[in-house]
């Protein structure tokens, strides 16, 4: 039985969507799942009784706090939940995890990741996205942090995308090591000789959507800037298509002819189907759902959480780091 805690914060519409996602997840035939919805008990119940759901798999943990994220994280800290789906803004979510959860051995700081759609498919499942981390759990990262993020990202890609040998890259302004920041250069040097990691070198941001790497590692400031810029470009492209359709008949015809492609782009960039992005570095599975998540996205996040718990990401991380340290010892010998 996998126990997933979800914080249900926000206005009525948002709580309704969160509860809808939990309700859908409770009806999933496959997998033993218990969902703990954390928030205002009455508001949650008022929504739940209007939805098809399986109450045998749902409990409500009352929280009087305006933002119940800390109460949800506390459940995981106390061992009452193995996975968290956090639905509010990332700042309080990251802070609550930092304050209440204990990092995995060998992990100096957690990394918030994001999934980004790519042209190339990844792993045995053909996942159409790259994992980018850190996108804002911290702002700075030294070489040690970046190497750890690489291990965390590779472990997650192995577990969730069933990608046995994920290609890992470091975000840089050029593929020339000599002009890379010292932390990036040092991390690149270490990753290049690390066993168990398929390091493909430095990667410019422009190459992320091409999908040449399965895991892209960056410090939190750069990662956050990149992901927000990519999101902005995606939104702009879709807005422009909508604008063009309204302006001239010829443009309208052109957009109509491209509608299949645009629809595919929309599908690929539809973050709701990916459910949530993991905050890596803790023994518990922590997924941060997009703040605009609807019921479908929350449902998918619950599915990913169950999968991640079953895949035992912490054990995978321990195995990968152990493999790497043995490799380092062999190299020294």
């Amino acid at each position: 039985m996998t126990s997933v805690a979800i914080d249900a914060a926000g206005g009525s519409d948002k709580v309704r969507e969160i509860v809808a996602g939990a309700a859908r997840a409770s009806l999933d035939a496959a997998g033993a799942l218990e969902i703990q919805v954390v928030g205002d008990e009455r508001r949650i119940t008022e929504q739940l009784i209007r939805m098809r759901h399986n109450p045998e798999r749902i409990s409500v943990v009352h929280s009087a706090a305006e933002n119940p994220v800390r109460d949800a994280v506390r459940l995981a800290a106390e061992g009452a939940a193995e996975a968290l789906v956090l639905t509010g803004p990332s700042g309080p979510a990251v802070a609550a995890c930092r304050d209440l959860l204990t990092l995995l051995p060998g992990v100096p700081k957690a990394a918030l990741s994001a999934v980004y759609p790519t042209a190339l498919r990844h792993g045995a499942k053909g996942d159409p996205f790259t994992l980018l981390l850190d996108v804002g759990a911290g702002l700075q990262a030294d070489a040690e942090d970046l190497v750890t993020f690489a291990f965390l990202g590779a472990t997650y890609a192995r577990a969730i995308s069933q990608n046995e040998s994920p290609r890992v890259a470091l975000l840089a302004v050029d593929d020339d090591l000599s002009i890379a920041p010292p932390a990036v250069a040092q991390a690149a040097a270490r990753l290049a000789r690390t066993r168990g990691i398929t390091f493909v070198g430095l990667l410019e941001a422009v190459d992320i959507p091409k999908g040449v790497a399965d895991v892209v590692v960056a410090d939190g400031f750069s990662g956050n800037t990149v992901i927000k810029l990519l999101d902005g470009v995606r939104d702009l492209a879709l807005d422009l298509a909508g604008y063009a359709q309204k302006q001239r008949l010829l443009w309208k015809i052109g957009v109509a002819m491209l509608s299949g492609v645009l629809s595919r782009v929309k599908d690929l960039t539809d973050w709701e189907q990916y459910g949530g992005a993991p905050l890596l570095g803790y023994p518990q599975v922590v997924l941060r759902a997009h703040p605009d998540s609807d019921g479908r996205a929350i449902h998918n996040a619950c599915r990913v959480a169950v999968k991640a718990v079953a895949a035992d990401v912490p054990r995978g991380f321990a195995e990968l780091t152990s493999q790497a340290s043995h490799g380092a010892q062999d190299a020294r010998a």
């Binding site: 008990e41 009455r42 119940t45 209007r50 399986n54 109450p55 045998e56 798999r57």
Partner: protein, 356 residues
């Protein structure tokens, strides 16, 4: 007058059949009437397509599956003086296999009413084959009149058919809350045959009024949102499993805690229920305002008192103890109010029932 309405044909309201139970409850020991529907209430039945309907019709007794806890709940209610009256929309031709299934489950009954579907077909009454109101309402009233005693009633149905509607209407008719004019409009809207309406009138004419229906349990087999049943008021309790029904019966003083324990053990040992599923079921009831923790404290005592009796059912005892530990945490902080409508709008609800 259509051939279907011909008075020459005796009206068929259901077949009580011969008493087939091995041990009918002595009249002096009967304290209340328990009425159960079978398909989707007691038995997991699928008749959403012709193929499934056919498969269900051809199933042997040992292939039929009852809902977790349903046989044990029926037995415990009977042990507490419940007169078990089964009223099912299954055709009379299935009597043998259904009775055999109940015997396999160790369930005794006192009355067993089945629908005269073949007779309806032969007489060209195709509306009556599908309709439940025209069959169940007169059958319930006839069964009530045959009792000859003012006993309280608990009714069990499901969310797949019109059980909440029929049972509520039956309860309000018993209580004398439905006037003749309103009833005529309801039966008109329900499109009942003339003889069915006449039969209802005849039964009502000799009915001893009593507010007898205490609870109507609706098994949410389709996982329908419980709010769908709010217009029926708090008497109708939508339940997701029979542990929930037993908890409400405990809170109402109908069942002792030991019976609830037996039902829980049965669900743990035969259906794989764990402490989380039991505790969450309880919490769901508390949050919906159908029970209070105070009324359920006997449960923890019962686990302590009778727990050792269930040692042979390990891990049931461990699971029940884990459940009791979660009992206090399950207390609802702010339960929603159970629905309390001023009056049930049967005409509106009938339209809803037809839409579902």
């Amino acid at each position: 007058m259509s051939p279907a309405d011909s008075p020459a044909v005796p009206p068929a309201i259901g077949d009580p059949g011969a008493p087939s139970t091995p041990s009918p409850t002595p009249a002096s020991e009967i304290r209340r009437v328990i009425r159960w529907d079978l398909d989707k209430t007691y038995l997991r039945t699928e008749f959403e397509s012709f193929g499934k309907l056919l498969r269900t019709a051809l199933q042997r007794a040992d292939q039929k599956v009852s809902f977790p806890g349903a046989p044990m709940l029926m037995q415990e209610l009977r042990a507490q003086g419940g007169r078990i009256c089964i009223i099912s929309g299954s055709p009379r031709q299935m009597r043998k296999v259904l009775e055999e299934k109940l015997r396999l489950d160790g369930v005794d009954w006192d009355e067993f009413i089945l629908k005269p579907n073949l007779s309806n077909l032969m007489r060209g009454r195709f509306r009556a084959v599908r309709d439940q109101i025209g069959y169940k309402l007169p059958a319930l009233l006839a069964s009530r009149n045959a009792l000859g005693r003012p006993l309280p009633e608990l009714l069990f149905g499901d969310d797949a058919e019109a059980d909440a509607f029929i049972y509520s209407l039956y309860g309000d008719l018993l209580a004398g809350r439905i006037g003749e004019k309103l009833l005529a409009r309801i039966l008109e809207a329900a499109d009942l045959y003339e003889d069915q309406r006449r039969l209802i009138s005849e039964q009502l004419a000799v009915l001893e009024p009593q507010d007898a229906v205490q609870r109507i349990f609706i098994n949410l087999e389709r996982r329908s949102p419980p709010a769908r049943f709010a217009p029926y008021g708090a008497r109708v309790v939508p339940v997701y499993n029979y542990f929930q029904a037993s908890l409400v019966a405990l809170a109402d003083g109908v069942l002792p805690a030991s019976s609830v324990l037996k039902i829980a053990v049965d669900m743990v040992t035969h259906a794989g229920y764990g402490p989380a599923a039991l505790a969450n079921s309880l919490q769901d009831l508390l949050r919906r305002g159908y029970a209070e923790v105070g009324a359920l404290t006997g449960l923890a005592d019962a686990v302590e008192q009778y727990g050792s009796l269930f040692d042979v059912f390990r891990p049931a005892r461990d699971i029940l103890e884990a459940f009791v530990r979660r009992l206090s945490a399950a207390a609802a902080n702010r339960p929603v109010e159970p629905p309390r409508p001023e009056a049930i709008d049967y005409l509106e609800l009938l339209a809803d029932t037809r839409r579902v």
